[in-house]
Symmetry: none
Amino acid sequence: MTVMPPPRRALWKSIAATLSDEIAQGHYTQGARLPTEAELASRFGVNRHTVRHALTDLADRGLTHSRRGAGVYVTARPTEYAIGRRVRFHQNLAASGQTASRQVLRLETRPCDPREAEALALSAGAPVHVYEGLSLADGAPLAMFRSIFPADRLPGLRAHLSETQSITQALAREGVSDYTRASTRLTAKAANPILALHLRIPDGAPVLRTVSINLDLQGRPVEYGHAWFAGDRITLTVTPE
Amino acid sequence: MTVMPPPRRALWKSIAATLSDEIAQGHYTQGARLPTEAELASRFGVNRHTVRHALTDLADRGLTHSRRGAGVYVTARPTEYAIGRRVRFHQNLAASGQTASRQVLRLETRPCDPREAEALALSAGAPVHVYEGLSLADGAPLAMFRSIFPADRLPGLRAHLSETQSITQALAREGVSDYTRASTRLTAKAANPILALHLRIPDGAPVLRTVSINLDLQGRPVEYGHAWFAGDRITLTVTPE
DNA sequence: TCTACACACTTGTCTAGTTGTATAGGAATT
DNA sequence: AATTCCTATACAACTAGACAAGTGTGTAGA
């Protein structure tokens, strides 16, 4: 318990300091759930709102994040790292000592829409595979991605993706031994609620979106990709060759 | 005070909007079965009840109907989907610094800070020129930039910049006939009030920031540049040489 | 071949718990 | 008098888990 010095510090600040301390000391480890607001309020002998004030401070400082209905969690802070123009997600992360993984959110085949048709040079309504998921570094979500593949040319791709989860490997099994990036477009966006939930960032926080097209060795488009990166967790590095 | 993002949308509304959009675009056609509630919950990262709330909305609007034990089916046909071919401001990264017009905000010489010293390979406190301004296209501010130049190697640069406003020309007059971009780092940020004012965007709106280093032909750094692009007004295109 | 049954899976419903937000007001400080 | 800090209450939004009800499929048995 902290001592109250005469020039009284605000209650919520003491509580925030205490909790922040306990997180720093490893009392609550990364990804762990804190006690509920009600429990904390009872522990510190204050109103729930006062606890909320302290928790808001922790969240603002990036120490925690909350999920309505679920609880308050200790944020796993991924170290900043760079992705080169040679775009191979896993290799880059491995180089910086982090373990990369993917979480599949969606894997299905459906007719394409006009935009996808144009990007992949397909006729309207041709079938495409949709591969959507999260890219994680040491368990913390870094980016959400969606890749669109022409299904006619790569009939078995979906099965391969569900096994390996690696795009490069899955494409290789379908006979696309290598592919190169034709273009990357970048824009800054505000996160919508769903995206914010997945990336565990506040609603409306800035997000870096990339839209890319990859070609096979014959110059035909094989992937139309979107990715949304948590703005404050990532720095993309573009290096000439 | 934290930034107030646009009116918060409930999670289930975002999900309903997303699904309704995908039906409209023909991703799920008439008679098709949607993924199960559990799958959708996993895809959107929410509880099944939240998905059900969204599905109830779709059913109320007549887009879908469900059969207990069987699944949820699409009743609506895809509406015509028109791609509005928007005019976009494409800015090539390699050719940055060639916008239509500039407005100078600051032009001064001062000792460098540690970060600048490192970027430009200078000794601590060495003098640098600071060139700060706005890039305009058709009168609308596209980006704010700040360029740092080593003052010792380019003593007359400031005078040249105040005359031409063109970085390339000013450098040429100082004997740097050409320069190449060594690296560009990109990240998404929220606009602070000053930046928002300059770019004429709402406070906290997403902004695309680039940090770059340019080298002369001998490989020595001659410019350390920052730029902040209004996220919704620009798309940066990165094309391999 | 047909039937009956088991079983996995899906939607429907219920209860309980947790965070988010709004409103109102008392007490201490400035 | 105004502001800040904290309490108090109520409700909305979402999660969590459990179970009931209905569907689709495979299988064993007659």
